[in-house]
C-alpha cells in the first residue's frame, strides 16, 4: 500500500477511535464509580443524535444545538438517575441488565413515536464545512478533524479531573464510597446523580457530535453499545485511560481489518478482545 494512503488510514482509525472513546468513557465511568452496567448507554447516544437533528432544525446551527442539547442531556441523565438508576446501586448486575434492557425498549420505541423512523442528515456548521485536500482524489473533511480535537480535549480534561483533583483520585481508585466521599464534604447521592448525568451527557454529546458524520437513524444506538462494551472490556472496567487506549486500538483494528481482511472485519475486533482477555482477564487496566 502507498505510504500516503497508509497514513490516511491511520488517521481514519484514530479519528474513529477518539469518537468511540467519548462514548465508551461515559459507560466505564458509570460502572467504575457506581458499579452499574448500563445497557441503555447506546440509547442515550441515539437520543443525543436525534436531539442534535431537531435542535439544528430549530436553531439552524449545530453549535447552538449542541449548546442547548448538553444541558438537556444532563437534565435527562439526572432524571433517569433519580427515577430508575438510584435503586440499582445495591442491586445485582442481573437486575441492572434487565432494567436497562427494558429502558432500551422504551427509549427506542418512544423515539419512533416522537421522531418517526426516517433517517435524517444533520448539516455541518458552515464555517466547518470544507475539506482539506490530501491527495489528488481524496480530501479530509475538517469537521472530522474538529471532532477529533474536541474528543482529545475532553480526554485531557478527564485525565486532569481524575488525576489531579482529590475527588477525581478517589473516583479513580474506586474508593468513592459513602464515607470517603462524605469526608470530602460531598453528599454521595448528589455525587452519584451528577456523575451519572455526566456519563449520560458524554453519550449524548457523542451522539450530537457524530450526528453530521453518522447521520441519524433508528438502531444507531445498538451498534455503538456493543462496540463500546468491547472497548470497556479491553480497557478494564472503570479505567478511563484503558478506555482511551482500547478505543484507539479498536478504531485501528477496524479500519485495517476492513482493508486487509474484509470478510472478517467484524470478527477481528472480537478476536482482539478475546486475545486481551486471555492475556489479562480484567482488561488492560482493570482492577481485580
Amino acid at each position: 500500500m502507498d505510504p500516503v494512503f497508509l497514513a490516511i488510514q491511520l488517521l481514519n482509525g484514530i479519528q474513529q477511535g477518539l469518537l468511540l472513546f467519548l462514548i465508551a468513557s461515559g459507560l466505564t465511568l458509570i460502572f467504575g464509580v457506581m458499579g452499574v452496567i448500563n445497557l441503555a448507554h447506546g440509547a442515550f447516544y441515539m437520543l443525543g443524535a436525534y436531539a442534535a437533528f431537531s435542535l439544528t432544525e430549530m436553531t439552524g446551527d449545530l453549535l447552538l444545538a449542541i449548546l442547548l442539547g448538553i444541558p438537556l442531556a444532563l437534565a435527562l441523565g439526572w432524571v433517569f438517575e433519580r427515577v430508575f438508576f438510584r435503586w440499582l446501586y445495591e442491586r445485582e448486575h442481573l437486575e441492572q441488565v434487565l432494567l436497562t434492557y427494558g429502558l432500551i425498549l422504551i427509549i427506542d420505541e418512544s423515539r419512533s413515536v416522537i421522531w418517526g423512523n426516517d433517517p435524517h442528515g444533520v448539516p455541518v456548521p458552515d464555517w466547518l464545512d470544507f475539506s482539506i485536500p490530501l491527495t489528488e482524489t481524496l480530501s479530509y473533511p475538517v469537521y472530522r478533524l474538529a471532532v477529533s480535537v474536541v474528543c482529545l480535549a475532553l480526554a485531557g480534561a478527564m485525565a486532569y479531573v481524575l488525576g489531579r483533583t482529590r475527588l477525581g483520585m478517589r473516583i479513580r481508585a474506586g474508593e468513592a464510597d459513602r464515607e470517603t466521599v462524605a469526608a470530602l464534604g460531598v453528599d454521595i447521592g448528589t455525587l452519584y446523580a451528577v456523575l451519572f448525568a455526566a456519563g449520560i451527557g458524554l453519550a449524548a454529546f457523542g451522539g450530537m457530535l457524530a450526528a453530521p458524520i453518522e447521520s441519524v437513524f433508528p438502531g444507531m444506538g445498538e451498534q455503538v453499545l456493543i462496540i463500546s462494551f468491547v472497548v470497556v472490556v479491553i480497557g478494564g472496567i472503570g479505567s478511563v485511560k484503558g478506555a482511551f487506549l482500547a478505543a484507539l486500538a479498536i478504531g485501528l483494528v477496524d479500519v485495517f481489518g476492513q482493508v486487509f481482511l474484509p470478510q472478517f472485519a467484524s470478527v477481528v475486533v472480537y478476536g482482539l478482545m478475546a486475545a486481551v482477555l486471555i492475556w489479562r482477564p480484567a482488561g488492560l487496566f482493570g482492577r481485580g
Binding site: G13, D118, P119, G121, S131, P141, F217, G219, D254, Q263
Partner: protein, 396 residues
C-alpha cells in the same frame, strides 16, 4: 397512520351493498358476505417501519379504487408487525395463515423475514405476494406456484446500472457494498450487467453490515482511483455514504452509482451531496404516464404525503391480487385458476408495464435516474423489460 387502526376497517359501505345483492347473483357471489382476509406482515416498528407504512398505504389505496371490494367480496386486513426480525418470520406467517386463516399473505420488507415466511407459505400452500424483499432465491430456487413478487430481485435491481456503464465503455469500476446477502447479490447483478463491456472491476470492498463508518473504504477507493464506483447501501447507510463521499472530495472526481435505493426517499437527508448521482430503478417519482399521475395524486390526497417506490410496490401488490380475485370471481379456493390468473397478470402500473416471469418476479423497465434539485429525474430507460434469470427455479 390515519385510517387503519383495527382489523376490519375496510369493511365499508360496499359490504352492505354486496350482502343485499347476494341472493340474486350467481354461485360464487353467495360468498360475498364473508370478507377476503388479507394478512399484512410488515415492519411497523424499528428501522424499516417507514417502508411498512408506505407499502400498507399503497395496498389500501389500490383496494380503495373499488370500494375496498375485490371480486364482489369485501377485503379485511389483518396487520401484524414483522419487526424485521427473521427468526419471527415463520411464526408470524403461521399466525396469519393458520391462526387468522387469511386468504392471502402480503409481506414482508426484509429478505430474511421473507425467507422464513416463504418456507411456511410453501408448506401451507398459501397465496403470498411479496411487496419488497429482494432476495433472489424467493423467485429462484425457492420459487413456488403460490408465491408472487410485486417488487424486484436484488440481481435485477443492480444489473441495469452495470449494463449502462458497460455500454458507455467505462473501464475501471470499484464496488462497495454491505457485506451481507443482499449486498452480495447486488454486486453479482452489477457484474453480470457490466460483463457485456470490456471494462474491469478493479476492487471490491465489503463493509460489515450494518456499519456506517465508511472512511476506510473511501480511502481505499481514492487510492485505486477508478472511473466509477457502484455502491449498495440503503436507508441510513445510503444517507451517510453519499454525504461522506462528498465530504471526502470524491464527488466531482469519481462517478458514483447505485441501485435506486441509494437516493430513494433520502435525498432530503442527503442534501447537496446527492446532486448528480445516477441510479437505476424500476420506478421514479417523475415518470410520465397517466397511471403514475393518477396514483400520485390519489396517494397524496388520501395520506397527505408523497408516495415512493415502496408505496408503488404495495399498490401493485393490490393490483396483482385484484387481477387474481376478479378472475375467479372471489372464489379464493379455486387455487389453480387463481394462480394462473396471477401468473398471466399484465397491467399498466405507475411504474409502466407490469407482468410476471414464469418464476413470478416482475418483468419491468429499469429507468436511469439522476438527482436534480433533490428529485430523482428520469433520464431514460436503462434496460427495458428486464427479467430475473430465476436461477434454480423449477417453474420456469
Amino acid at each position: 397512520m390515519n385510517g387503519i387502526t383495527r382489523r376490519g376497517v375496510l369493511k365499508g359501505m360496499g359490504a352492505a351493498g354486496a350482502v343485499a345483492a347476494a341472493s340474486t347473483l350467481p354461485a360464487p357471489y353467495v360468498r360475498a358476505a364473508t370478507p377476503i382476509k388479507a394478512g399484512i406482515l410488515l415492519p411497523y416498528s424499528g428501522t424499516y417501519s417507514r417502508l411498512g407504512e408506505a407499502i400498507t398505504n399503497g395496498f389500501m389505496l389500490n383496494l380503495g379504487k373499488s370500494g375496498d371490494m375485490l371480486g364482489g367480496r369485501p377485503v379485511e386486513l389483518v396487520r401484524l408487525d414483522s419487526e424485521a426480525k427473521p427468526p419471527l418470520g415463520p411464526s408470524n406467517a403461521t399466525k396469519l395463515i393458520n391462526g387468522e386463516k387469511v386468504d392471502v399473505l402480503v409481506g414482508p420488507v426484509h429478505s430474511g423475514v421473507a425467507m422464513g415466511m416463504a418456507k411456511i407459505a410453501r408448506e401451507e400452500e398459501a397465496l403470498t405476494i411479496i411487496p419488497n424483499a429482494g432476495a433472489d432465491q424467493l423467485t429462484g430456487v425457492l420459487c413456488a406456484p403460490n408465491i408472487f413478487r410485486s417488487s424486484f430481485s436484488n440481481w435485477q435491481a443492480s444489473y441495469p446500472m452495470g449494463k449502462v456503464l458497460a455500454d458507455r465503455g467505462t473501464k475501471r469500476v470499484a464496488l462497495i457494498y454491505w457485506n451481507y446477502a443482499a449486498g452480495k447479490q447486488a454486486a453479482q447483478g452489477f457484474k453480470d450487467g457490466f460483463a457485456d463491456g470490456d471494462g474491469e472491476i478493479v476492487t471490491e470492498i465489503g463493509v460489515p453490515f450494518p456499519e456506517v463508518e465508511f472512511q476506510a473504504a473511501l480511502t481505499q477507493v481514492a487510492e485505486v482511483n477508478p472511473d466509477a464506483v457502484y455502491v449498495f447501501f440503503s436507508g441510513g447507510g445510503a444517507v451517510k455514504f453519499v454525504k461522506d463521499w462528498a465530504a471526502a472530495g470524491l464527488k466531482d472526481k469519481i462517478a458514483l452509482h447505485g441501485p435506486g435505493f441509494l437516493t430513494e426517499g433520502v435525498t432530503d437527508a442527503q442534501g447537496e451531496a446527492a446532486e448528480g448521482i445516477e441510479t437505476a430503478m424500476h420506478y421514479a417519482d417523475t415518470l410520465d404516464n397517466p397511471e403514475n399521475k393518477a396514483f400520485r395524486a390519489a396517494y397524496a390526497d388520501r395520506f397527505g404525503k408523497n408516495p415512493d417506490v415502496f408505496a408503488v410496490q404495495g399498490y401493485d401488490a393490490g393490483a396483482l391480487l385484484r387481477v387474481g380475485v376478479e378472475a375467479v370471481q372471489g372464489d379464493m379456493d379455486a387455487r389453480g385458476d387463481l394462480y394462473a390468473a396471477l401468473s398471466a397478470a399484465d397491467f399498466a402500473s405507475p411504474r409502466g408495464r407490469f407482468r410476471l416471469s414464469a418464476a413470478h418476479n416482475p418483468i419491468q423497465d429499469f429507468y436511469l435516474r439522476q438527482v436534480e434539485n433533490g428529485v430523482n429525474v428520469v433520464k431514460g430507460i436503462a434496460v427495458a423489460q428486464l427479467a430475473d434469470p430465476a436461477k434454480g427455479c423449477k417453474l420456469a
